[in-house]
Symmetry: C4
């Protein structure tokens, strides 16, 4: 069992504290981008939600690519408990480290939402009232996370240098081709419960989202284990 | 005669079942992106079709690049019977495998449309009533497919690593510079007959589209055979 | 004196007929993209010119990158008499070949405009009535072409592999930061005289545009000759 | 102490006059892009500020990437006194050269604003009346500059070839996820005081912006010194 759950091969051994700091900071910045650009988009778009979502998409796709470029060599740039779970199932990260990753992802994500609120002079503490429920939303999250894991596992194996761009481009597409705008990430889902803005989700809708995400992630992991067998010797 | 019809050199021999699965899954995800983002764009755009098409374009260009990155090394990432035909004429893929590719592309494409409908809580079974007829539409499809084949054959020969990005960027442009929004793909055309949404096409218009696509593909294949002769020995 | 006016090093000697065909076809496709996406943008945008220009920008930036990727190794992918002139002044292309390039660029550009008209069921023969006059427009063209030549000469010398993307990104920016939407190309200016659509320019405004373009090109060539001296031996 | 404050390793020793010219010209072109595309966006957007900012974002992200590609090998492409300060604190640029960089950045930035005004037939001399005040704006600038320095220091160390694209993508995101639209640059702040257009900022708001920028830059420099220790021997 290895502790190298990196999307990228690390340049050198990275200490545990730096790994966790990278994972927390990266997830915080991701949520600041998602929630902040959602607020800005909604404020400026004059009621046209497509324009607000285009802005939200541009910011998220661009920002996510940069965060994976910068933090990938340090922590693997998971920023996502579903991704960490898949690497744990593949035994590319130990269970203890995986649990620590998930914890700092959750804490970082919430900090990022609060930073976005502070930047936009919103109350820091909020709870979303935006229901996103029903089987179509859950299926959307399953598809969204399935595609994300397929993208990550395919790139890590076949084209590692393109991984940051591929993940950013994938989310750019997924904001639009899924009915749920593709959260695809339990830590993001949790954090967005705490923002009653464009990007928020009511806590009552969160369990369905997370269930869909985990189902999609597991399906993708199983498929890719068959499609790209790791034994090459 | 070779069976290596890849846009990218495969990392290792890929079994037939994995090739066909990659081709089917990739085409399914492509159609889910095209049709899903079309539905989302139209729902949010408040009646402004340019905004809906910008969203559709961003999602398709980004998603297609990612799909070619991930599936290119497995199946060549054709996702398109016109592309497969060109490689068959160039004797870079055998006739039997080419026929199998076209079949799974068609089946995958339809499955992708149905997945998009399920995500957006639309009836799964639909038939488009959107007529896209006339010589200008056919000529548009010929130009669109001509440019696609020129892009693919030029990149594969001259800059293989840029192929996924180039194809995504080409389609980004082609959604706008052709009057038909550049289907450029018989499997996509067939699948979009089964969606009565933004991206749909009435079955009555499909034969003209496919005829234009094949004419454009053959013209591009002939031109590129002269422009980039393959004999280098 | 060399005949290798390539933005990219050619993979192998390319015959004169193939060079000229590449230059003509590339310029034709560039104009089809510029004019076609302008028509589509204007038709769909519901009177909002910013939305139309965003669509026009996305298509042009994406399409131009692809065309340079594909045709760069064959002809250098100038598509622009101002670029050819600069390479001729730098003695990287002979005078005779430069004149032939300029001729096929002009012919190809006009063919591309006509192809766009045919795709959109517009009359093939048109003359623009859109005046774009005044010193601010001329200064805009000078700045636009200055920046284009700085981009090309900087990339060719310092980062050749990034040239196609850099030129596409430069034009993406220049459509918006210049008051003239950055034609930056005498062949494009001539061809756009023949389209009375979104991207057109009245013939009466063309000489001022071309004068600005040449002034900007020469200023950039002089600056870059100082900034990046070619003697390295 | 080294004078090599490059974002990129220079290809060969670059003379002081060329370095300063590159830094001045690059900053001038950056401001022409920022202010010019702001004017164009506002003029065409029909009152929808989100559409204007999308255009402003596309132009700035694309243009900034190109400018770093071209001028990075010459001067390091700082274009930003906060970036120069961080490299000076890291002793990667001498104090005298750093001061000269800051001076030509300021002069270049103002020249770029005036060039934009001339292109758009605006009065060259303007002073902005657009107040951007309050703690949320200052905090936004701190976050924006923090993220910019994290991006630059991470890329320079871990993925230098991706630096130009990463900085362009970061600013693309930051225009939207910060309430201040991410100036993140004291020279840009100064220059934008002299434009009473979409991108302007009232001189009374500038000190708060610069204070936020410096605080964010110093915090990022401290964090990255810990996260990516430079000693590898």
């Amino acid at each position: 069992m290895s502790d190298e759950a990196s999307l990228e091969p690390p340049l050198e051994p990275v200490s545990l504290s730096r790994r966790l700091a990278a994972e927390a900071l990266g997830t915080a910045m991701l949520l600041a981008v998602v929630v902040g650009s959602g607020i800005m988009g909604e404020r400026l778009a004059g009621g046209n939600d497509a324009i607000a979502l285009i802005a939200n998409t541009l910011a998220t796709g661009a920002g996510l690519t940069v965060l994976i470029v910068v933090f990938g060599p340090l922590s693997g740039a998971h920023f996502n408990p579903a991704v960490t779970l898949v690497f744990a199932l593949r035994r590319e990260i130990g269970a203890g480290l995986a649990a620590a990753y998930a914890l700092v992802q959750a804490v970082g994500g919430i900090a990022g939402v609060w930073a976005a609120h502070a930047m936009f002079a919103e109350p820091v503490w909020q709870v979303s009232a935006k229901l996103r429920a029903g089987p179509s939303q859950m299926f959307s999250e399953a598809v969204a996370t399935f595609g994300l894991i397929v993208t990550i596992l395919g790139c890590v194996r076949l084209r590692p240098a393109f991984t940051p761009m591929a993940v950013g481009l994938y989310i750019t597409a997924a904001y639009w081709f899924t009915a749920s705008t593709s959260f695809a990430n339990p830590a993001v889902t949790l954090a967005r419960c705490l923002s009653n803005t464009f990007a928020g989700i009511a806590p009552a809708s969160a369990p369905g989202f997370v269930a869909g995400q985990l189902a999609g992630a597991l399906a993708a992991a199983a498929l890719m284990a068959w499609l790209l067998p790791t034994r090459r010797a």
